[in-house]
Amino acid sequence: METIKVVKDVMVDVFDFPHVPYWFSLRQAIGIAKKSLLTSEKCHHPMAILVFDEKYNLMGTLTLKDILKGLEPNFLKPITKAQGLESDESALSALWDGLFFKESLDKATRPVGEAMVPAKFFVQPDDPLTKAAYLMIHNDLVLLPVLEDKKKFVGLVRIKEIFEELSNAVLSA
């Protein structure tokens, strides 16, 4: 089996992704997602926006799904089902269309800090990719920040490169 690479061998530049401060609204994030991710000639994977605080510390990530989740009207939020009872909640999504302008547009003014996935996990440049893989799999992440000396944000690891390297290692074993 090949030697597994370390994080710094595959990490990508932080400036490959759009940056927003936590106080930007979801409406502003939508505009940025359209300009920087959806219509850009550059291929972004994953389609995510990095969220920072006022001192340029990474706070979290915001994907297209997170933005939509942030716009979701309250009545569509998952509810606890009584045991044994099933109901067709897809019908509720039709209500979203009708009530969109009431709730979702209001929610578009909310700060991205409320919709982002907080950056709780990170790796260091010399950590093995298997550690990055473990964190991503068990925490359902597509991006992982790389911190030097646990402080300086120096790059990102993507699920794409993790998959590439680990799958090559398995196939060549």
Partner: protein, 248 residues
């Protein structure tokens, strides 16, 4: 009062300038407190044994420099220092305060990176998917916030600015001296606006107060390298214009 020590006719310095300096010291030392009325011209003439014209010139200069304010029919009063800012090539806030001999401090409220929204790409003349360094500072004079300044610099122009100590350093000085990026011209726009809620709060103004908005675009050659948006308390700043008559 021993006027001989204060006003010296043998000195080459003009009399009105000597009187100006003496009166300025009285204000700066607090002997004449903010809001107090200064003696009338006749009394000042007797105290300093100079002509009315000399007193008038000295008082005029103190008004021009923001130390005094004239109230018609009432008199001349000491006011909170209003900093006159010339509408010429941009001077950094630090330089302006040092020239005026004013003690000031700066609070850095944000030093981070953003993407352009709300036509910022058009203002900075950059593509709409470029990263921008965003700096927000509150300038304080005499423990009172006076200017809220937001600065936008395309990240690729000077990435290291993100790590600079910009509380104690002028960004213009950093550009010109440390990073060898000369500022060749500046375009400025002035407007009276109503301060937004957070702007009013930070400047200690009542909600919806009028304020001076100064927008500046800084160029190095053909390339715009910085855009600033400053909200200033109108009671602490006055913009002056000096024009020279053209001779034909």
């Amino acid at each position: 009062m021993n006027t001989e020590k204060l006003i010296n006719r043998d000195k080459p310095q003009k009399l009105y300038i000597q009187v100006f300096e003496v009166l300025k010291k009285k204000i700066e030392s607090g002997e004449w407190g903010v809001g107090s009325q200064i003696p009338i011209e006749e009394d000042l003439c007797k105290i300093y044994e100079v002509s009315k014209a000399t007193i008038r010139l000295a008082v005029l200069e103190l008004v021009r420099q923001g130390y005094l304010v004239r109230q018609q029919g009432k008199g001349t009063f000491v006011c909170k220092r209003v900093i006159p800012e010339g509408l010429t090539m941009s001077t950094s806030f630090k330089e302006l305060m040092l020239e005026a001999g004013v003690a000031f401090s700066t609070q850095v409220l944000a030093q981070t990176v953003v993407m352009p929204t709300d036509d910022l790409d058009i203002k900075l003349e950059i593509p709409d998917d470029k990263h921008i360094i965003y700096i927000k500072r509150l300038r304080i004079i005499d423990s009172e916030p006076v200017v809220l300044q937001e600065t936008y610099i395309p990240h690729h122009i000077c990435p290291s600015l993100l790590n600079e100590d910009i509380a104690d350093h002028s960004i213009l000085e950093l550009f010109e001296i440390k990073y060898d990026i000369p500022i060749t011209n500046v375009k400025g726009y002035i407007e009276v606006v109503y301060a937004k809620e957070d702007e009013s709060r930070l400047l200690g103004l009542p909600d919806n107060s009028p304020a001076l908005l100064l927008e500046q675009h800084f160029y190095s050659g053909e390339k715009q390298i910085m855009y600033t948006r400053s909200i200033k308390r109108p009671d602490r700043f006055r913009l002056s214009i000096e024009m020279q008559k053209k001779t034909y």
